[in-house]
């Protein structure tokens, strides 16, 4: 019999409604899985057993009371720990927020609770979402369930690992430069960065406000669509949230790609990309072509500068966003002889090295005399990236590329080389700069048995066509492998 922890969200929802099992059963399956896998993975910072059990019981009552068609009712979900949860410790993997219990729920969290979702716990991340491996966590790294000697990607590595391992049925992360898509790629899951503004950022601990976007991680394209629909839509508490109608996604997943024009991004199809990843990407494109799509090659010339621009814009914004951690109102306090000393000592002790590096970079980039050469220039590149995408979308419906230049890399391999680490996001960053949606779908395993992700990008609010293409990619790839660790019976030293 199938372990309930391995069901898709859609199947689990059907089972709950058919009375085959209860939400408490479902949660227990995920908790049993966590009990086995967590000692190897460390996907979670906090498992909220009591809160989750209460929510599962409430879901069972709602199910027993009659028809309740909320798609996430009773579904165990993992949340990245930069999503603010009322009463549940939220640290963004930083020492500076150790022990902080928020007095409020972020909008996405509130919508999940309203949707009847069962929040299993808070997952590990690179501190303040700054990193691509989940090694920059003040509470220790997360490992990849496909090979625990490798990283799960990052910064949403905790949520990706939990979903891949089956200690949650779905998860949420945040994507500032690839932080949902790259870990999804490295863990064989589906990860989505929606259009900027589609999901409220209220209650997401800010890294880089103009780039951050909350999005889902699921085991299938359909699960990811269901998760996204539960949180998307205008929020009066986020001035940058989109006021119009949410794109209809899950209704048209079976629409196919016949007649669609698909652009393969030239700049992301060669140099710097692992040959096996390139090969899997080519094979996927061929299958899309076989399925009726018109495939063309498209150049995005500014892609070359996107990474550099990103590493000025994101640090600049973070230098201001993280200024609030000053020991005055909450979080860590290291005493000093005067207020400046208190603030400086607290920040020196509370932030990890990567966070400090980015705050310094950003502060420098915004300084008088340097602003134009750095931040100003980066903003001009951002405009070029937008223009490149806009021009491309005049000719094609979606763009495709690898999600990550490589599969999962060994723990520690890039930890001391920031530039090598930054390069992990070369394929994903352009979509953050343009604010447009992009997602990663697993398509194959490499020779080492590690998953390879395929990226589908679409114009703003083009989630419908993006998911339709992703669903076709998923069907054609026939990717059904599960992480070796995704079992409730693993007993290993």
């Amino acid at each position: 019999m199938t372990d309930l922890a391995d069901l898709t969200i859609l199947d689990a929802g059907a089972g709950l409604r058919a009375g085959d099992f209860t939400a408490v059963d479902l949660l227990s399956a995920n908790l049993r899985r966590a009990a086995v896998t967590e000692s190897h993975l460390h996907a979670y910072l906090v498992i909220d057993r009591d809160g989750a059990t209460e929510a599962a019981r409430a879901a069972d009552e709602a199910l027993a009371a009659g028809v309740d068609d909320r798609p996430l009712l009773g579904i165990p979900i993992a949340l990245k720990d930069n999503m603010v949860t009322r009463g549940v410790e939220t640290t963004a993997s930083s020492q500076i927020l150790a022990g902080w219990r928020p007095p409020y729920d972020g909008t996405a969290v509130a919508r999940l609770r309203d949707g009847g979702a069962v929040i299993v716990g808070k997952t590990n991340l690179d501190e303040f979402a700054m990193g691509s491996s989940t090694e920059n966590s003040a509470y220790g790294p997360t490992r990849n369930p496909w090979d625990t000697d490798t990283v799960p990607g990052g910064s949403s590595g905790g949520s990706a690992a939990a979903v891949a391992a089956g200690s949650a049925m779905g998860g949420f992360g945040s994507d500032t430069g690839g932080s949902i898509r790259q870990p999804a790629s490295l863990t064989g899951t589906v990860g989505v960065k929606p259009t900027y503004g589609l999901v409220s950022r209220y209650g997401l601990i800010a890294f880089a406000s103009s780039l951050d976007q909350i999005g889902p991680i699921g085991r299938t394209v359909a699960d990811a669509a269901t998760l996204l629909e539960a949180v998307a839509g205008w929020d009066r508490l986020d001035a940058t949230s989109y006021r119009g109608d949410v794109p209809r996604i899950s209704g048209s997943l079976d629409g196919g790609v016949a007649g669609l024009r698909i652009g393969v991004v030239t700049e992301l199809s060669g140099e710097g990309i692992d040959p096996q990843v390139l090969e899997a990407t080519r094979a996927t494109v061929d299958r899309l072509s076989d399925a009726g799509a018109a495939v063309v090659e498209v150049s995005l010339p500014s892609t070359e500068y996107a990474l550099s621009a990103y590493y000025l814009i994101a640090p600049a914004e973070c230098s201001a966003n993280l200024a609030r951690f000053d020991a005055v109102r909450y979080g860590l306090r290291v005493e000093g002889d005067n207020v400046e000393e208190m603030m400086a000592s607290t920040r020196g002790a509370g932030f990890g090295p990567e966070v400090i590096r980015r705050i310094l970079l950003g502060t420098y980039a915004l300084s008088a005399g340097y602003y134009d050469a750095f931040y100003g220039q980066a903003q001009r590149v951002r405009t070029l990236v937008r223009q490149d995408f806009a021009a491309a979308y005049e000719d094609v419906d979606v763009l495709v590329s690898p999600t990550s230049p490589t599969t999962a890399f060994p723990v520690g391999a890039r930890a001391t080389d920031p530039i090598a680490m930054y390069y992990s996001d070369v394929c994903t960053i352009p979509s953050n700069l343009s604010g447009e949606p992009a997602m990663s779908v697993p398509v194959a395993l490499d020779d080492a048995g590690l998953p390879i992700g395929f990226q589908v990008m679409a114009p703003a609010l083009g989630e419908e066509v993006m998911f339709r293409v992703a669903a076709e990619v998923e069907r054609d790839a026939g990717f059904s492998a599960r992480a070796p660790l995704a079992s409730s019976e693993v007993v290993e030293a």
Binding site: N82, M83, V84, T90, A92, L97, W100, P102, P103, Y104, G106, R201, Y202, G203, L204, I205, A206, A208, S209, S210, R236, L237, D238, A239, T240, A316, E317, S319, A320, A323, R324, F325, D326, V328, R329, Y330, N338, V339, E340, M343, T363, L366, S367, A368, Y371, Y375
Partner: protein
């Protein structure tokens, strides 16, 4: 010796009294217990985001409109970065390029002459919390401890920046006063300097009179009243003159006005000044102020102080009365009501700016709390006009009406203050006095007019002071001549 001329620009901060704060739903209420009007947004909890308050935008647009500014079609918010414990985010959301209002002007009256002061910009920002430093110094360095109250954090704050068009401390005071009156007339703020809802910083430099170059300026902070604005600028101007006359140079710096000792002292030099690292606020979209909105704001513009003053002068008030009334809406209403009711403007002006103001000050009360209304003033003026009340008696009646004793007629009656204007009654009294004073009558008839006053006095005494002295005098003269 060189003759120096001061060049002064003023930055004014005004807190808007909107229902809620600039970027969250917390109430703007200064009476609350510390840290009760707060939420995740104004406390800058992790994850919280700002949303701009439309009523505050409307408020600043009305100020810009009243200052004859161009209202910017696309306006941007910026982050101004600096660390201070009462600034929760450690950046202030403010404006930098593309502020909401630019290129305006205000006319002020200096010794009867209109002087035009340019307004560079009017922009929107948010206030900080309040620090209470315990311990000797009263400032953060050297304090034993500091308490923070974030109720004020995030209150909408408007900054009005003038051009360096002001040439004296007195002009600066006139500018500050007029701006205060305008803001109050718009109803967007009570603009109380003593409570900090209006605050000034003055940029002061000097140059040889007639020169068109600019000298090195200093910025004077901590100016908490219109009087100290004038004093601080006077001091700073004189200080700079002494420095330059003594062969020294003025350095660009920020100086602190010390109210007690009446001097400015160095706060920080240019080298110590902060780099605010302004960048566009990514949490807020650009503000689009469409033509319709700009026109709506302009159409709603109330009567401004300058227009009101002109109207009062047209009604017959003198310049001083008009100036006083412009800043006191309740008194102005009283004045207007009485004058429109037909009373003599000068008489009403004298009463309102004299007895009424004195009474209100003495009793620390407002006009609403007294028994006085415009119809009472009309009645009182009519009684003095027809001679039934003397000027002195009128003041007493006014005081009693203010105290709530009743209408002027009723008070005068009850207090027996009405003048005898019945000619017959006065005539009988005159006849009696003349009959008893033959000597005086004879002297007058002989051409010595001195005893007239004596006889009038006797009649007044006989009538208990209630006879109209004019009528008495006329009667005495005519009867002696007979």
């Amino acid at each position: 010796m060189t003759t120096w001329e001061a060049v002064i620009g003023i930055e004014t901060h005004v807190e808007l009294q909107t229902a809620s704060k600039m970027f969250c739903g917390c109430p703007v209420d200064f009476g609350d217990e510390p840290n009760t009007a707060v939420c995740p947004v104004c406390l800058a909890l992790p994850g919280a985001l700002p949303v701009a308050n439309e009523a505050a935008i409307e408020g600043i647009l009305s100020i810009g409109d009243a200052l004859n500014c161009t209202l910017t079609e696309t306006s941007l918010f910026y982050r101004k970065n600096y660390f201070y414990p009462d600034l929760p985010k450690n950046y202030q959301i403010s404006q930098y390029t593309f502020p909401l209002c630019v290129d305006g002007h205000m006319d002020i009256d200096v010794d009867g002459e209109a002087v035009r002061i340019g307004i560079t910009r009017v922009h929107m920002e948010e206030d900080t919390g309040k620090s209470l430093h315990a311990g000797a110094s009263g400032r953060i360095h050297g304090a034993d401890s500091t308490l923070l109250d974030f109720n004020r954090a995030g209150v909408p704050l408007v900054e009005v920046v003038s051009e360096p068009d002001i040439r004296s401390a007195a002009e600066a005071r006139a500018y500050g006063t007029e701006l205060q009156h305008i803001v109050r007339a718009l109803g967007v703020s009570d603009a109380k300097l003593e409570e900090g809802s209006m605050r000034f910083d003055a940029n002061v430099s000097i140059r040889p009179a007639g020169s068109d170059t600019l000298g090195t300026r200093t910025e004077v902070k901590n100016v908490n009243s219109l009087r100290s604005l004038q004093q601080a600028i006077d001091f700073e101007t004189q200080r700079q003159i002494e420095v330059l006359d003594g062969g020294g140079t003025v350095s660009q710096e920020t100086r602190h006005w010390n109210e007690g000792s009446g001097v400015t002292t160095l706060m920080r030099s240019k080298e110590e000044s902060e780099d605010y690292r302004y960048f566009q606020e990514p949490d807020l979209l650009p503000l689009f102020i469409d033509k319709e909105w700009r026109e709506r704001v302009h159409a709603r513009r109330p009567e401004l102080p300058a227009d009101k003053r002109a109207r009062f002068i047209e009604l017959g008030a003198d310049a001083e009365t008009a100036a006083l009334l412009v800043d006191a809406a309740d008194l102005a209403g009283l004045y207007e009501g009485a004058v429109e009711g037909g009373a003599d403007p000068r008489t009403i002006g004298n009463w309102v700016t004299g007895e009424v103001v004195a009474y209100l000050r003495r009793n620390e009360t407002t006009i609403d709390a007294t028994g006085l209304g415009a119809p009472d003033l009309v009645e009182l003026a009519a009684m003095t006009g027809d001679g039934s009340l003397s000027a002195t008696a009128a003041k007493e009646v006014l005081a009693r009406v203010l105290a709530g004793e009743g209408t002027p007629g009723a008070v005068a009656e009850r207090r027996d203050l009405l003048q005898i204007s019945d000619a017959g009654e006065i005539e009988r009294a005159v006849d009696a006095v003349l009959a008893e004073n033959d000597d005086a009558v004879d002297k007058i008839r002989a051409g010595d007019m001195k005893p007239v006053g004596f006889l009038v006095g006797q009649v007044m005494k006989a009538t208990g002071g209630k006879a109209d002295p004019k009528i008495v005098q006329e009667l005495v003269r005519s009867k002696v001549d007979q």
